[in-house]
Subunit: 208 residues, 4 copies
DNA sequence: AATGAATGAGCGTTCATTCAT
DNA sequence: AATGAATGAACGCTCATTCAT
């Protein structure tokens, strides 16, 4: 039943339709208020207030505030990670590897900058960035790829932890500025970041 | 403390001494528990418990939990900013400028990593990073210096906002990994970061 | 159930049959979970979960959680009361009267100790006993019978209220212990209780 | 300090005085509403509403609803238990033993019938009796004494568990009626209960 | 200035009940 | 009649802040 109806969303009963709509409404509202207030300051009531639903209804869809937050982060990470993996697989040079990765990330950020600002939400004057397990896992994969690349000689033999850190730092911080521009250009940003790292990597102290 | 002062009440105005000591005691206790529990999970009672003072007394020194947090962050930034300014002033090349800046920052982070881990406190599975106004201001100054350097021809003519972002991203993210090492080496980290940027900057798209 | 009825939908009005079956299913499930969790801790969802019905359906049969509880207690009391009345009617001596009453009660408790433990459900460390109107009514009848017995000279002329109270106290408290024994013996319990009261009643202060 | 001041309650600082007064106010209010509504139906807000204090203040004195309930029951039990123990110790015959015990219990109930009605609170139509660990412990002591008495030949050799149950049942149920009389007479009640048991015990089946 | 009890808004969450389907 | 999602009042409890002492 579920399967049959899932094939054609238009044929869903009214009940199923509102259920799906409510689920999405909660996710959307949560994304918005988490972005505005940050995780800590956000209350469940803040979230449901943005949906017009009753407070109890929240708990028909998510077991807790943390669960909806996780769902949101996973939703985001799930969208980038496969693309990042693709890029890494098809890269044959370090430059391709970098450019692919930066481009995917910056493009995702532009497409979905609401989810992104959530990670960067500032409550009051304090800038906050939150990395959830899915996000951390994504970065761990990058680290593995870099280790692998060093072994295969594709990536210069530099401190892999620092390199990973530098890439992540560049990616997030630049993305932050990019999305605040009038006409964000992921390609230009990826070019910038790629060039910086590709050009610099050779001067970085290599392990003997 | 009470005992020591009781030995020589005449030495100096007890009031003033106690006031300064209490202020500092609160800051010290706050630094400690914010680092342990993170901002959100820390209660005012957690802070004053570490001082032996009464909860109400907290409010003689700080208007709110947020204010003591700000004071703490400012205190930290106040220690780095003058040093960062010094470095920028005495730099004659872009490389000197970068190395000086990274070294000051990484050294500060190692010296005072309690304050730093506070910015990185994680609650549950979620990593959180908090940048306060003073820190942000410190980096805004960096931006001004970069603009200035470009004008004077010392810094290559690249997108200054992206460059600033890249430097900040590299600095914070690398610092994060560095402090978790057994024997953190700010010089090595500064060398790595400096080489990366110095080497790469020429390949980065220049403005006409 | 659904399957059985599907085999012969014509046999009898499906409606009526289902209605009665559902009503009983709710009562059965309620008896079970009230016994397990106690009244306070039991939720309507706990009850209907044991029936396969939907939560809203509960309210087609009972107006509230309290109503189903009352129905349950009444159902129990309804089973004992007629038997108790029988015993009282056929008793010709005080001893017969007592033995009959205790035996009926202890037998009922053993047969239906689920309903009985419900009255004794404990939440945490706290033992709770609940007596509902029907049960109370049952014992009020006992009082009437005792008054009557005194008037007719069958029951010694002692304080009838205290006598009723003593009988009730003995009955409930002994039943409590009896059901926790490996092999509960209502006859032995009735003998014990009867002997205690029959033997003692003569020493009890009589009214002039 | 505490000791010195405890010697003269009149010399207590205002703070200590209100603290003690509030503690007592909460206990009093709790006793009252538990008696009215029963444990399950009573909310912390119901309790503090009866004191004029703020809801949070409750938690300065008791960690939870359960804790205040326990405190209340212990307070009661603590008052009877020592007296009951005294009576048992000084009894040389079974009759003395019984009379002493019943008299202490009935007297206590009359003196403090608010605490007692709590154990008998009815919520709606449902009579509830709650026995807390302290109360249960008190009954366990009775059981031990009975076992002991049987061994020493002071108490007839009947089923000790049933005998304990019967005594407890008689005590509680009779107390219940007694307190509702215009002029409760603990001595008369104790005479009644003692006579009933003393007279009956010989007819009760003895173990061979 | 220091104290710490009092305050009460607000939290995350539950659940008896209603009602659109 | 049956469904089960929606409702929202109420729960136990926390804690930043106030204020009488």
């Amino acid at each position: 039943m579920t399967q049959l109806e899932a094939q054609d969303p238009a044929r869903l009963g009214k009940r199923e339709k509102t259920k799906a709509a409510n689920q999405q409404a909660i996710l959307d509202a949560a994304r918005k208020v988490f972005a505005e207030l940050g995780y800590g300051a956000t209350t469940v009531r803040d979230i449901i207030r943005g949906t017009g639903l009753a407070s109890g209804t929240f708990y028909n869809y998510f077991k807790s505030k943390e669960e909806v937050f996780q769902a949101l982060m996973d939703e985001s990470a799930l969208r980038v990670r496969p693309a990042l993996i693709q890029e890494r697989l098809k890269a044959t040079t370090f430059e391709e590897f970098l450019r692919g990765m930066f481009l995917v990330f910056f493009s995702y950020v532009v497409d979905d900058n609401r989810a992104y600002t959530m990670m960067r939400a500032n409550s009051g004057q304090i800038r906050v960035r939150m990395d959830t397990p899915e996000v951390i896992a994504g970065f761990d994969e990058l680290r593995v790829d870099i280790d692998d690349g060093i072994e295969r000689g594709v990536v210069p033999n530099v401190d892999p932890e620092y390199l990973t850190a530098a890439l992540i730092g560049i990616a997030f911080e630049m993305a932050d500025r990019m999305v605040q521009r009038d006409d964000p250009d992921p390609i230009a940003a990826a070019d910038f970041a790629t060039a910086l790292v590709v050009g610099g990597i050779d001067l970085v102290p290599h392990k003997k």
